[in-house]
């Protein structure tokens, strides 16, 4: 038994887009599934904490009330559009179900709503698509259907778990455009989970960086890119290839691997891979602290400017 996510705390404002970034296994998905209370149990369990939505603690709601929240006020889209739709139901049936679970409307009205949603996500010839099965659609189309379904009840929060990871790059850009457009139109807050800082730069207002089940840095998106204050974030940024660099420049890879959750290192969880780590880092875990307006980091060395200068000099 281990804690996949530990001490994670953040706020999502109405209409805001929050990016949650980190590499595989850092607890991004578990965090999002926890909000929906969809962590598979067993083996998973939410041991402690609160998830407050409009004044109510979601973790204390009875299951039936939670079902009323899922898909209505808070909805979710997933990484795998190929397998996330039911293969034996038509696209229309699946959207209609989402509508009718939360709105007391007749079959015709729900179908009209489904059609409207398919138009909203810009699926060509939506009338015919409505009666098609998922296997007749491409990956990008299926993700559009997922988005249409998730937005069909006008949610206040849309949780998007790696919504573009499984798609081609050109389709990724289309889906991100669509999400941004829909956010501006519907005013829904988006919680975007991704390992791709490029995606975050495209769409997020604020970013939370996670590492090994903890938040290591949180900042408005422009600040995170211009003034990262955690060595892990710095490493992530350094590993992105840039247009215009002369090609001789090596990408910076973060040395080592993510720690085994059964055997987390003492002190700062990033310390075994951190070029700046010292004895203090390895013995005592840093708490998340405010170092600027809306900018929090969990690093003893922050602000990093002096530490980096010192390291460069040495």
């Amino acid at each position: 038994m281990f804690a996949a996510v530990d001490g994670v705390s953040f706020v999502l404002a109405p209409g805001e887009t929050l990016g949650i970034v980190g590499e595989s296994g850092c607890g991004k998905s578990v965090t999002s599934l926890s909000i929906m209370r969809l962590v598979p149990n067993p083996p998973g369990r939410i041991a402690a904490g609160t998830i407050t939505f409009e004044g109510r603690n979601l973790l204390e709601l009875p299951e039936s009330e939670m079902q009323a929240v899922r898909g209505d006020a808070i909805s979710m889209i997933f990484q795998e559009p190929m397998t996330s739709l039911n293969p034996v139901q038509t696209v229309g049936q699946q959207i209609v179900e989402a509508v009718r679970l939360h709105r007391s409307v007749g079959a015709t009205e729900a179908r009209a709503r489904a059609l409207e949603m398919l138009r909203l996500v810009k699926i060509p010839s939506p009338e015919t698509r409505l009666d098609e099965y998922p296997h007749q659609l491409s990956g990008g189309m299926r993700q559009r259907v997922m988005i249409a379904m998730a937005l069909s009840c006008d949610p206040k929060i849309l949780i998007a778990d790696e919504p573009t990871t499984a798609l081609d790059v050109t389709i990724q850009a289309q889906i991100l455009d669509l999400l941004r457009d829909l956010r501006d139109r519907t005013g829904a807050a988006i919680m975007l989970i991704t390992h791709d800082l490029g995606v975050v730069a495209e769409i997020a207002h604020r970013v939370v960086v996670m590492y090994a089940g903890r938040i290591v840095e949180e900042a408005p998106v422009d600040l995170l890119f211009s003034d990262p204050q955690h060595p892990y974030t710095l490493g992530l940024l350094g590993s992105i290839p840039r247009l215009g660099s002369d090609g001789d420049e090596r990408l910076i890879a973060i040395k080592g691997v993510v720690p085994n959750p059964y055997a987390l290192p003492p002190g700062c969880r990033f310390s075994p891979r951190c070029p700046l780590a010292d004895a203090h880092c390895r013995s005592e875990a840093p708490e998340l602290r405010e170092i600027g307006r809306g900018h929090r980091t969990a690093c003893w060395k922050a602000p990093l400017d002096q530490a980096l200068a010192k390291a460069a000099a040495a």
């Binding site: 598979p40 899922r70 397998t83 293969p87 034996v88 679970l101």
Partner: protein
Amino acid sequence: MARHIAQRLMISLPVLLGVLMIGFLLLQVVPTDPATVVAGPSATKAEVEAIRQQMGLDRPLWVQFAGYLGRVLQLNLGRSMISNRPVVDEIALTFWPTVELMLACLIWAVPLGISLGTLAARRRGTTIDRAIMALSVMGVSVPVFWVGLILIQYVGGAGLLPFQGRNGPIWTADGLISIILPAVTLGAVFVGPVARMTRTSLLETLGADYVRTARAKGASDWRVTIRHALRNAMIPVVTLVGLQIGFLLGGSIVTETMFAWPGVGRMAVGAITSNDFPLAQGAILILAVGFMVVNLIVDVLYAYLDPRIARS
């Protein structure tokens, strides 16, 4: 869908030919000589020879088979050596009682098996799950004839339900009552495998991404199970039921004989023990065709259950 069915029918034709050939050859290798049987115990050698020529048994095998094929195509399966009535008529008499028995067995055993399997999957690891699985192992392990004997002894013997023959078509009260014990006997071995397969298959689909999507939509646990997971879990179950119906046809020979049920199975047993070749051949043919029809239905059900199959 219509094209899918037509394709399946075309594929069935060679199978049918094979079935006819095996049915024909089986009776060639049986040590008894049909001509001797027809001629009777007191016939002379010359008389037997005359009958053999009259029946065409002296001609080469392939000529005999071609003749047999031609007659089958005209629905002429010959005459029973015992009753001297056309085999087709005999089959027509026994066919419906067997179908009745099959349906009466399936109609309770399959839904019960699927329900128990679903319940076991949803309550995985609990006492309910273990009890259902233990029951299903028992169901598989117990032979049909033993279930039949127990039922005849304790239910039939106590005069609660009839256990001797068919007292009328199923839609009459007498007929309905008389089919209960045979149908329960035949279905008892069916529930276990269906429950087990449903549980396994459902546990797999319950972990699928689209099930998580359905939960994220706000569907209740049971709605998710039945509307999303169960239909996706049905393909292996339908396959199993289709195959089991093959065993059921075999099992029905035992059941029909035990309960004096006037079906094809009992007729086949009678024909074989009395060396009634045309009738035995006819019974084998109809059982084989029955199995083929079941397979066809299974194929069509696949396409209904999973739209990806009909289009591939």
